[in-house]
């Protein structure tokens, strides 16, 4: 029983990172209709910013998260405004290939700058945890989950309570009508992608805390973000939170299967995704559109 509780807790904690990775991806997908294959690369850029600030200036990694967000927002805004806006009316395959090209460029520039060595952020409180009886809760994981939830709440606030957020929602319901009422599409699109990138940056900072990163470490996160968004359902931040936590649980339980459970984690995740897609395409929490 304690094992089960421990697994559930670990799963929810692992889900924190997936929530952070998923919300930005889901926003860009839901509003811009772009499956952003560069998302993982943006995540890792955030990870390197955190690592650089931690190792050079000894900033606490959690304090670097806002810096990740701002830096990635600027990068994402420029990327959308300068490049991705150019093909927004093209068939979906083109956005796939374009973002893959962006991914290739970012990852290899990181390789040039930082090399392919593993980099990790180890703080004084890494490895410590809260002990409740036989159950252990690592502090870093707990703080990461809190940060991820905070990120999701912040994003929901921006989308629902600010002028630009409402403009983004208007675009996502009807692009042409939004343009008719005077929304500057180019700017709003760039802000949307910038927000998505900012979420990716925060996720990268959290990931740097829990695993060693390399320039190519982001690629699995692109796929996992996709699974998370599918699981939850496209279009709402809260659905992505549920999807992220569910994905964390599935992963932890899959890894705990005796024998070779851990090596099939990816296959199980994708199998689950295909199952959800085929049986419940609107996601666990989604509404039919």
């Amino acid at each position: 029983m304690a094992d089960f509780v421990q697994l559930v807790i670990l799963g929810l904690l692992a889900g924190g990172v997936y929530v952070a990775v998923g919300v930005g991806f889901g926003l860009v997908w839901g509003v811009l209709n772009i499956v952003n294959l560069a998302h993982g690369a943006l995540v890792i850029v955030g990870g390197y910013i955190t690592w650089q600030l931690f190792s050079a200036l000894h900033l606490d990694p959690f304090l670097t998260l806002p810096i990740d967000a701002v830096a990635l927002f600027v990068l994402g805004y420029a990327l959308q405004r300068g490049v991705i806006n150019r093909i927004i009316r093209a068939p979906l395959l083109f956005t796939f290939l374009l973002t893959f090209g962006v991914n290739l460029v970012i990852v290899n520039i990181l390789l040039m700058v930082f090399g392919s060595d593993f980099r990790s952020v180890t703080t004084s409180y890494s490895g410590q945890g809260l002990e409740l009886g036989s159950i252990v809760i690592p502090y870093i994981r707990l703080a990461s989950l809190a940060a991820a939830i905070l990120l999701a709440v912040g994003l929901a606030f921006v989308l629902n309570r600010t002028r630009i957020g409402l403009a983004i929602q208007a675009i996502s319901s009807d692009r042409d009508a939004a343009q008719l009422v005077g929304i500057d599409l180019r700017h709003a699109y760039a802000v949307t992608y910038g927000l998505g990138a900012a979420c990716a940056g925060v996720a990268g900072g959290l990931i740097a805390l829990i695993q060693a990163i390399t320039p190519t470490a982001g690629e699995p996160y692109t796929l996992q973000a996709f699974v998370v968004v599918i699981l939850g359902g496209l279009g709402r931040v809260s659905a992505t939170v549920v999807g992220g936590l569910a994905f964390g649980l599935v992963e932890v339980f899959a890894q705990s299967i005796p024998g070779s459970g851990s090596v099939f984690a990816n296959a199980i995740a994708f199998g689950l995704m295909v199952l959800v897609l085929v049986t419940r395409p609107q996601g666990l929490m989604g509404r039919l559109r």
């Binding site: 209709n33 979906l92 290939l97 374009l98 990852v107 796929l223 994708f270």
Partner: protein, 352 residues
């Protein structure tokens, strides 16, 4: 004489040289140092090019003609490679007897996963197929039977070397034959009732269904056909390369490369993907520095070269998608001319 005819004659001459020259003059040419023929590495690259012609042309059947953006076709390549590989390495079958099973198994698998997957559309199909591509590779590497890895596991699968004179040349011709088959199949599809059905599905699936096209059967058949050709390339690859593992039989980057090739050349056409495969593969090899007649890139050290090559490839990918969305076959086919106005027009068509 129109440019179209010039390109066609030029292309035929080059193709004839590439195909026939090795047959007559391999050994003397190598001792005399004739360019291209002097280097055995060249056969490897030429065989790779033919392999990508097969894959890009096969992807075109499901992605270009049917309009379903399959992102996991490398699964069929790997399944073909492992089918032939297992039959040769474990069951001791001869290569030519084992090869026909590669396309059959790949097509069966495609039909099986295609039935649920092809109900999805757009992004959902693209990423679900990508997921299948990743998952199959992982399963093949990790499935155990009685505690032994069933397919060679992480250490891969070694095949006995196929005993034939001039092995490089033999596999070059086998791969070229597969490429010719893929192009012939595409040519047939585009002229058949089946192909018209697929194009109807691409243009408007509901309308096609109303007109009496059995869309599910057509889509699954197109998917299986693409899988069969891709699997054939994988089967040839396994015996040619003698060693297969997850990294070389299920490389994720092939997914994007074959699509980029089809797109670069022109999707939905017979020769477009092949032209794209030749262009892009030569470019990748040139940038990577492995072409026999390669030259140094300015300001780039040898160590940084593979990384710079990837950056250039990424930038090129972005440029092609933005500026030449219909593929270069338009220029060579004489339909349009490469001009600033053309680039501006394609930019404006898709811009926000």
């Amino acid at each position: 004489m129109s440019w179209r005819r010039v390109f066609m004659i030029l292309g035929l001459v080059v193709a004839a040289y590439a195909l026939l020259a090795p047959l007559t003059s391999l050994d003397p040419a190598q001792s005399a140092g004739v360019p291209l023929l002097a280097d055995r590495l060249w056969f490897r690259i030429a065989t790779f090019i033919a392999m990508f012609i097969v894959m890009a042309t096969a992807w075109n059947i499901i992605g270009g003609i049917t309009g379903y953006a399959a992102f996991g076709n490398v699964a069929f390549f790997g399944i073909g490679a492992y089918t032939t590989g297992m039959l040769i390495a474990k069951a001791k079958w001869p290569f030519l007897a084992a090869l026909p099973f590669a396309p059959v198994v790949a097509a069966l698998f495609a039909a099986l996963v295609g039935l649920p997957l092809l109900r999805l559309r757009g992004h959902y199909f693209a990423v679900a197929s990508l997921g299948v591509g990743v998952a199959v590779g992982e399963l093949v590497q990790n499935i155990d039977y009685n505690g032994q890895p069933l397919f060679g596991g992480a250490s891969g699968l070694f095949l006995p070397i196929y005993a034939v004179d001039n092995r490089g040349l033999f596999f070059f011709y086998v791969m070229v034959a597969a490429a010719a088959l893929a192009i012939a199949v595409t040519w047939w599809v585009l002229r058949s009732r089946f192909g018209y059905g697929l194009i109807a599905i691409r243009e408007n699936e509901e309308a096609a269904s109303v007109l009496g096209v059995n869309t599910t059967a057509y889509k699954v058949a197109a998917f299986a056909l693409a899988a069969a050709l891709t699997g054939l390339a994988g089967g040839i690859f396994s015996q040619w390369n003698v060693f297969i593992n997850q990294d070389n039989a299920f490389p994720i980057e092939y997914n994007v490369q074959m699509i980029l090739m089809a797109l670069l050349g022109g999707t939905g056409t017979v020769f477009g993907p092949a032209a794209g495969a030749v262009l892009l593969q030569l470019l990748i090899q040139f940038l990577g520095g492995s072409l026999p007649m390669s030259m140094n890139l300015p300001f780039v050290s040898d160590a940084a070269r593979p990384i710079v090559a990837q950056v250039i490839l990424g930038v090129l990918l972005v440029m092609v998608v933005i500026f030449v969305p219909r593929g270069v076959i338009d220029f060579f086919g004489g339909r349009t001319r490469l001009s600033l106005a053309y680039l501006r027009r394609s930019l404006r068509e898709t811009s926000l």
